[in-house]
């Protein structure tokens, strides 16, 4: 898990503006503090994928066309959940009461941290399973509904295993957390995972037109 400087800047909406020493120090401090406080935990399960969308024998069918397209050709998937924990969340509340500038930087650093952590997990899985993995695909990407989050958490028992819950509005708590599906495939991944934001920035096809991380190119 790392917090890459360019990622942090990009999340903050940086478009090449001059970053002076004072701001750079603040960015470094936020990243350092976040990594010190983070308690990364994850849970992963491997399932056969039946008919392109049935998750093992859980009785859960993955909804939407985009996830099916993403997992096309995979007969197995990893279901993963990752969080950097409640301590980072508490630090965020503390900073919010103290200074919005510090809270903003820490919040962003925490987002980078959990994305990087999830990338690490996928990398390790790819190594250990000896096969190729697709990019991560999360609830809310494309037409894969946010509502699926609840079932994914239930299957992984994230509440008792890593302290991660899904609330009434299908939001993850603590906030700096990720659930995702990763396809296991024998053929090389059709779309190579790009660095950074877990949706792989296939922005053209995404309906979140106002996403803060949307890439114009």
């Amino acid at each position: 898990m790392e917090i890459e400087k360019n990622e942090l800047l990009r999340y903050l909406g940086w478009k090449g503006q001059e970053v002076d020493e004072a701001l750079q120090t603040k960015l470094d401090d936020a990243a350092k503090r976040c990594l010190a406080i983070a308690e990364p935990r994850s849970v992963v399960m491997r399932f056969p994928l039946h008919g392109g969308c049935m998750l093992g024998d859980t009785g859960i069918a993955l909804a939407g066309d985009d996830i099916k397209r993403h997992l096309a050709g995979c007969n197995e998937v990893y279901l993963l959940a990752a969080t950097i924990g409640a301590a980072a969340e508490r630090e965020l509340w503390r900073l919010s009461a103290k200074s919005t500038a510090e809270a903003l930087l820490f919040d962003t650093a925490a987002s980078c941290a959990v994305e990087s952590y999830a990338d690490d997990i996928c990398e390790d899985l790819e190594k250990s399973c000896g096969r190729r993995l697709t990019a991560r695909f999360s609830c809310g990407y494309g037409d894969f509904p946010l509502e699926a989050q609840k079932d994914l958490c239930k299957i992984l028992k994230t509440d008792t295993r890593i302290g991660l819950c899904c609330d009434e509005n299908f939001l993850l708590t603590p906030r700096k957390s990720i659930t995702a599906l990763v396809g296991i495939t024998d053929t090389p991944a059709p779309e190579k995972r790009t660095e950074g934001h877990g949706c792989s920035h296939k922005c053209g096809g995404c309906y979140h037109k106002t996403c803060a991380f949307r890439r114009e190119d």
Partner: protein, 791 residues
């Protein structure tokens, strides 16, 4: 024999894992394993039977996740629980049946959006449905607030014995950061047994078990996993190894033993054999004076400072903040005191015209969401005290009772029920006695009455009361003498508000420091002071050095070694050095704290309101324009806003009354169901620094609350934020209610999933694409800006 009598005499053996056994027997379990209670009761019965035959004294019904949130409905939850208890009863064959209560599966506020009352109601329904059991076990909890809701629900809806356990990690904390000591202190008063389950293998749990044993007078329960799981959730500790470590635990004083994930009837058979040949060992518990939050335990084994700032009495800004519901101000005060070195914070909402019960509860919630210090609930009204004690997660202090029977009998039962420590003022209906002897008499009455209610001396903090030395000179010594004598005779701790001593005298801090020092040498444990006044904390540090509490004066040296102490008698923080150079525009644009120095210098020649209109606003406008043009990006905009805030603070100081500097009142809220509030906080910072008064209602705010505040305060502009598609519906509902109830109030909205079209569709007046857009709208509404066309 009932369960508690059985527990008094014997080591109790619980059964082992249910899920592990279920997986062996049923292939398709699904996400609600409790459905099997109805669909395949024979499988459930078979597992119970196996554990009963292995020798378990208690059979745990298959109800762990049968709450309405996980089951999907209250009806189904009720049905599953009743069925489970019935099956367990049938197979227990005369052994005890436990109703099993696991976490709801959603986090409570402030981490999640579930409220304490909602959690309580869910648990209460489970307790009612399972009332046919012999006891209740609440287990695998990770959030102390959720555990407290479950314990209260159990206590208040049934008469059954209640056991509870949390799940700890290797670092001795739960996922939410709750420490084993904090858990034991908080849960013990409400439970019949406390302990740990799941988590880790038995060996890794030993330190946690030891901490719990040392911090509770109640029997301790342990149900460990059979080691740590591999990637397929198989467990690696054999039944023999498991029993060996459990034996060690029983020798250390554990009284109830069982198994969690990975254990089977084989493991329980070994535990049965252990229990049969061992007799209960004495507990290592020793009573001590300590209070805690969920994450921080403060033992009162030396001087501990109680911060007094969250109290509106005589503090205008705090008074205004409480009237307006501006909890941002309150939390900033909490953090400032924590950083200054306070160990405990006093919270007080005693203002006429204020609903003390509601406001005190909110104070408790807000302060504990940003700060991990234990709280002292400063209130005389029993209903408000109880509401605050329910909302507080941890072991609190109640401030206060006195020697009046009426007061003692109203408040002590609350302290007892919730396990709070209590402050006893040495006065009664006749007033404050003049002599130390008489004050001690009242203290002893309080101690005796508290004892009758089951409150030990260690949880009583006696206040010998400070009187003003300029009016009653002999009294200073009487107070100190009373402290000395009460500490000699009893195991109580003493508490004292210090600063009253100097009322009416010049340079009050000189007298305060001397009295504080004298009181600590007399035996004062808990001075209630303003920790932001350096002299107060210096006196405490010096006392600790002088009395050897601070070994080798290490803490003193660390704190003051590199510091040039500037003694001040004004009671405020030392002023920063003057003459920060440069131009105020430059400082604001660069986000430098020196902006405040510039403002101070300018205020020598420029009238305060001119400084705002001719310097601050233009500087902020320039920054805003640069942000819009992409010359600056978000962190730079926010830093600039925070620098400007420092300048505004200087202006306010200069004006004495800030009302003249305020350009208009704006309500901000993150809508119900949404807990992502960083965007709202950014908007708040920017608006405040243009001189607008922002009433920040926080996150997860119900529509009715937004409407209430907008109506009561005749708000003209309200900003709402929502991050997710799923919470925009609540935004729409809030807008609908606002239009109906407050037609004069205009609404601006923002958030990641919104755009102009969507904002228009849900009835908003404006969509804000970024933090700067809000300012343009505010300037239009409150004057000074161009028209911003409505959607």
């Amino acid at each position: 024999m009932d369960f508690l009598s059985f527990l008094k005499e014997k080591i109790v053996v619980f059964d082992g894992a249910f899920g592990t056994m279920l997986q062996k027997k049923a292939k398709h379990i699904g996400t609600v394993p409790e459905l099997l209670n109805i669909e395949r009761p024979e499988i459930i019965a078979e597992i119970h039977r196996a554990y009963a035959e292995a020798g378990a004294d208690v059979i745990t019904a298959n109800t762990f996740g049968a709450n309405e949130k996980k089951a999907g409905s209250a009806d189904l939850s009720d049905k599953l629980i009743r069925a489970a208890v019935e099956i367990a009863r049938r197979e227990a064959k005369g052994k005890f049946v436990a109703l099993d209560i696991g976490p709801i599966g959603q986090l409570l506020e402030p981490m999640g959006s579930l409220t304490f009352d909602e959690a309580y109601a869910i648990f209460a329904r489970q307790m009612k449905a399972g009332a046919g059991a012999d006891l209740i076990i609440i287990e695998t909890m990770t959030d102390l607030a959720e555990l407290k809701a479950a314990l209260l629900a159990a206590r208040e809806t049934t008469n059954l014995p209640v056991l509870c356990s949390m799940t700890f990690e290797q670092n001795g904390r739960t996922f939410t950061g709750c420490g084993a000591d904090c858990f034991a202190l908080t849960a013990s008063p409400l439970a019949d047994a406390v302990g740990v389950n799941c988590s880790l293998g038995p060996k890794q749990l030993l330190p946690v078990v030891q901490t719990i044993l040392e911090n509770t007078e109640k029997p301790v329960v342990v149900q460990a996993n059979a080691g740590l799981p591999d990637e397929n959730f198989n467990y690696n500790v054999s039944a023999d190894e498991f029993a060996d470590v459990c034996q060690e635990m029983l020798r250390a004083g554990v009284r109830i033993i069982g198994g969690c994930c990975g254990t089977t009837p084989d493991y329980i058979r070994k535990l049965r054999a252990l229990a049969d040949r061992m007799s209960p060992a004495p507990s290592p518990y020793r009573r001590r004076s300590a209070v805690c939050s969920a994450t921080k335990c403060v033992e009162i084994d030396g001087v501990r400072v109680i911060g007094e700032r969250i109290n509106p009495t005589g503090k205008k800004a705090m008074k205004t903040a409480l009237y307006e519901g501006n909890y941002g101000y309150v939390t900033a005060q909490a953090l400032e005191q924590a950083e200054a070195g306070a160990d405990i914070l006093d919270v007080n909402a005693g203002l006429p015209e204020l609903d003390e019960k509601a406001v005190l509860t909110k104070l408790v919630k807000h302060v504990q969401s940003v700060c991990d210090l234990p709280l002292q609930i400063d209130c005389g009204k029993p209903d408000a005290i109880e509401a605050a004690l329910r909302a507080y997660t941890g072991k609190a202090i109640v401030n206060s009772v006195n020697g009046e029977d009426r007061v003692l009998d109203a408040i002590l039962p609350l302290a007892r029920k919730y396990g709070a420590a209590v402050v006893g003022l040495t006065m009664d209906e006749r007033g404050i006695p003049k002599t130390a002897r008489e004050r001690i008499k009242i203290a002893e009455k309080i101690i005796a009455r508290a004892g009758a209610y089951g409150i030990p001396e260690e949880d009583i903090f006696i206040d010998c009361l400070t009187l003003t030395v300029s009016a009653e000179q002999a009294q200073a010594n009487e107070t100190l003498e009373a402290i000395r004598r009460i500490k000699k005779k009893h195991r109580v701790k003493t508490v004292l508000g210090v600063s009253n001593i100097s009322f009416g005298l010049p340079n009050r801090q000189i007298v305060n420091t001397a009295f504080l020092t004298g009181a600590m040498f007399a035996g004062l444990d808990l001075p209630i002071v303003n920790p932001n006044v350096p002299e107060n904390m210096q006196a405490v540090a010096a006392f600790n050095a002088l009395t050897g509490k601070d070994k080798n004066c290490a803490a003193y040296t660390e704190k003051y070694g590199a510091l040039t102490i500037q003694t001040s008698v004004s009671g405020t923080k030392a002023e920063k050095t003057e003459g920060g150079s440069g131009d105020i525009f430059y400082c604001i644009q660069k986000g430098l704290p020196e902006a405040a120095d510039c403002a101070r210098a300018l205020l020598q020649t420029v009238p305060p309101l001119f400084l705002i209109d001719d310097y601050l606003i233009p500087a902020l406008n320039a920054v805003g324009d640069d942000y819009e043009r992409g010359v600056l990006f978000l962190p730079q905009l926010i830093s600039a806003a925070e620098s400007a805030k420092l300048c505004f603070d200087e202006v306010k100081k200069c004006l004495g009354d800030s009302s003249g500097a305020e350009k208009g009142k704006i309500v901000l809220a993150t809508v119900k169901g949404d807990i992502h509030d960083i965007g709202k906080n950014i908007v708040k910072t920017v608006l405040e620094n243009y001189g607008y008064k922002v009433i920040d209602l926080g996150k997860n705010v119900p529509p009715e609350e937004v409407v209430r505040v907008c109506r009561e305060q005749e708000i003209k502009l309200c900003g709402l934020s929502a991050l997710m598609t799923t919470t925009v519906a609540n935004m729409e509902e809030t807008i609908r209610l606002l239009h109906r109830e407050c037609p004069a109030c205009r609404i601006m909205v923002g958030g990641a999933v919104l755009n102009e079209a969507y904002a228009k569709k849900i009835g908003a007046d404006w969509y804000c694409k970024d933090a700067n857009a809000d300012v343009k709208i505010a300037q239009y509404i409150f004057g000074g800006g161009e028209e911003v066309p409505r959607l």
